[in-house]
C-alpha cells in the first residue's frame, strides 16, 4: 500500500483518533492544573503537609502506567472501561510535575523579596499573587509542559482500556504485526507532543518575566 493509499484509507480515522487523544490529554492536563497549581501553592503555606503529599505524588508516578490503568478499572466512580478511567490516570501522572514545580518555584523566590514585601505591609495573599506566583510562573509552566508531553505519550496506552485515542492504531498494529499502523498512531502522537512542547515553550517565553 502506498502512503497515499494508506492515508486515503486511514486519514479520517487518524483525525478522529487524534481528536480523542487530544481530548483525553487536554481534559487531564486541565484538571491537573486546576488541582496542582493551587495545591502546590497551598503546600508552600503548610510545610508540615508538603513532605507527605509530595511523597505520595511521587509514589503514584512510580506505578507502571499499564498497571495503574488496570488498578483503576474496578474502582467505583473513578474506574470502569473507557475515557473516564484514562483521564483519571493521566491526571494522577500529571499532578506530580505540576504540584512539585509550583511548590519549588514559589519556594525558590528570593527570601529578600518576600521579606521586603511583608515588611512593606503586603498581606500573604497579596505577596502570593502579585509577587511569588509571578516570579515562579516560569517554573510552574515548565512543570505543565513536562506533564503535557508525558501525558501525550502515556495516553496511547489508554486504548488498552477502551478509551480510544492514537493508541488504538498502535495496539492494532502490534497485534497484526503491521508497522504502518503502528506509525499511524506513533507519528501523530509524536507530532502532537512536539507541537504542545513548542506552544508551551512559546507561552513561557512570552508571558513569563525573564531575569537576565
Amino acid at each position: 500500500m502506498s502512503p497515499a493509499q494508506f492515508l486515503s484509507r486511514y486519514g479520517s480515522e487518524i483525525a478522529q483518533r487524534s481528536g480523542e487523544h487530544l481530548f483525553l490529554v487536554g481534559l487531564a492536563i486541565a484538571i491537573a492544573v486546576i488541582i496542582g497549581i493551587p495545591g502546590g501553592v497551598a503546600l508552600t503555606r503548610s510545610p508540615r503537609l508538603s513532605r507527605p503529599i509530595l511523597a505520595a505524588a511521587n509514589a503514584i508516578q512510580t506505578i507502571p502506567s499499564l498497571a495503574l490503568f488496570g488498578i483503576l478499572i474496578p474502582l467505583p466512580f473513578l474506574g470502569g472501561i473507557g475515557a473516564r478511567t484514562a483521564v483519571v490516570a493521566l491526571v494522577l501522572y500529571s499532578l506530580l510535575p505540576i504540584l512539585r514545580n509550583t511548590f519549588t518555584g514559589i519556594k525558590g523566590v528570593d527570601p529578600a523579596i518576600r521579606e521586603a514585601g511583608l515588611g512593606m505591609g503586603m498581606t500573604d495573599w497579596q505577596l502570593l499573587w502579585q509577587v511569588e506566583v509571578r516570579l515562579a510562573m516560569g517554573v510552574i509552566l515548565a512543570g505543565v509542559r513536562v506533564a503535557t508531553v508525558i501525558a501525550i505519550g502515556l495516553a496511547t496506552i489508554a486504548a488498552a482500556i477502551g478509551a480510544g485515542g492514537l493508541g488504538v492504531f498502535i495496539f492494532r498494529g502490534v497485534a497484526i504485526l503491521d508497522n504502518s499502523l503502528i506509525l499511524a498512531g506513533a507519528i501523530p502522537a509524536a507530532i502532537m507532543a512536539l507541537l504542545a512542547d513548542a506552544a508551551l515553550g512559546w507561552g513561557e517565553r512570552r508571558f513569563v518575566f525573564q531575569r537576565k
Binding site: 528570593d110 521586603a116 505591609g121
Partner: protein
C-alpha cells in the same frame, strides 16, 4: 531625653528563639525626627530589633510602642504600612519596573492612579533619579546605587512617619556609599522622618546618626550622641572604636 514619648518606644523588649534570648531587656525611645543608628557586629540582635518593631517577628517579652500604641495592638499590616522598610538586599520586585515598585504601597492602599503617578515622580526626584529616564526600567537594568535609591523611594512612598533600614548601604562600593549616605542625611533632615538604621560600620554610624546605640549579645550596651559615643568610657565602645583608622576618628570628632 525629652519628656514627650518617642515615636518608637521599646520597654523591656525581648525576643527568645528556642529558649535562647536573641534580644533582651531593650529599653529605647526614639523621638520624632531622630536618626538612631543601632551599631553592632553580626548576631548582636540589631536586625531582630528592627523586625520586632514592624512585627516581622513577635516579641516574647516586654513591649514596643509605636505612635502611642503597643505594636501588639496594631494590625501588623497597618503597622508595616506606617513604617518604611529598607533592607540590604533591597528586595525590589524583579518583575515590576521602577514605577510599579515604588507605587506598591500606594497601590495596596488604593490610591488613585493619577495620584500614584505624581507621587512616584516626586519620589524619584527626591532620591535623585530622573523619572523620565528611570520609571520604566526594571531592577536588573539599574546599578547598585540606583537600586538603593529606588528602595528608599519605595519605602517612602506612602509617606510613613518612620523608616527602618537594615544595612541599607552595605552592598554599595565605598564611593557610591559615602555619596548616598550624605544624600540620605540631607533627605532625612528635609523630610523629618524618624529613622532606625542598623549597621556594623562605625564610620557610617558616626556620619549619619543623631544617636548611636551599641548592641552586643542582644543587649543595648550604650546609647549616646556621636560625640559622646567617641568619648564614652564604656569598654565595649572602646573595642568598637579601636576598629577605626586614627584619621577618621580625628575627623569624626567635632
Amino acid at each position: 531625653m525629652s519628656s514627650e514619648p518617642g515615636l518608637i518606644e521599646c520597654r523591656g523588649a525581648g525576643f527568645d528563639l528556642n529558649g535562647r534570648p536573641i534580644v533582651s531587656g531593650l529599653d529605647l525611645s526614639v523621638p520624632r525626627g531622630e536618626i538612631l543608628v543601632l551599631l553592632g557586629r553580626s548576631g548582636s540582635g540589631k536586625t531582630t530589633t528592627l523586625k520586632l518593631i514592624n512585627r516581622l517577628l513577635e516579641l516574647t517579652r516586654g513591649e514596643i510602642w509605636f505612635e502611642g500604641k503597643r505594636t501588639s495592638e496594631w494590625d501588623p499590616i497597618r503597622l508595616r504600612r506606617r513604617i518604611g522598610y529598607v533592607i540590604q538586599e533591597i528586595g525590589l520586585f524583579p518583575h515590576l519596573n521602577v514605577q510599579r515598585n515604588v507605587a506598591m504601597v500606594p497601590h495596596l492602599e488604593g490610591w488613585e492612579r493619577v495620584r500614584i503617578r505624581e507621587r512616584v515622580r516626586e519620589l524619584l526626584h527626591l532620591v535623585g533619579l530622573d523619572p523620565g529616564q528611570f520609571a520604566e526600567r526594571y531592577p536588573h537594568e539599574l546599578s547598585g546605587g540606583q537600586r538603593q535609591r529606588v528602595g528608599v523611594a519605595r519605602a517612602l512612598a506612602a509617606d510613613p512617619p518612620a523608616l527602618l533600614m537594615d544595612e541599607p548601604f552595605g552592598a554599595l562600593d565605598p564611593i557610591t556609599r559615602s555619596e548616598i549616605q550624605k544624600e540620605f542625611q540631607r533627605l532625612q533632615k528635609n523630610l523629618g522622618k524618624t529613622v532606625v538604621l542598623v549597621t556594623h560600620d562605625v564610620q557610617e554610624a558616626l556620619l549619619v546618626a543623631d544617636r548611636i546605640g551599641l548592641m552586643e549579645g542582644g543587649k543595648l550596651v550604650e546609647i549616646e550622641k556621636p560625640d559622646g559615643f567617641l568619648r564614652s568610657g564604656n569598654p565595649a565602645v572602646a573595642a568598637v572604636l579601636a576598629s577605626l583608622p586614627d584619621r577618621s576618628r580625628r575627623e569624626a570628632l567635632p
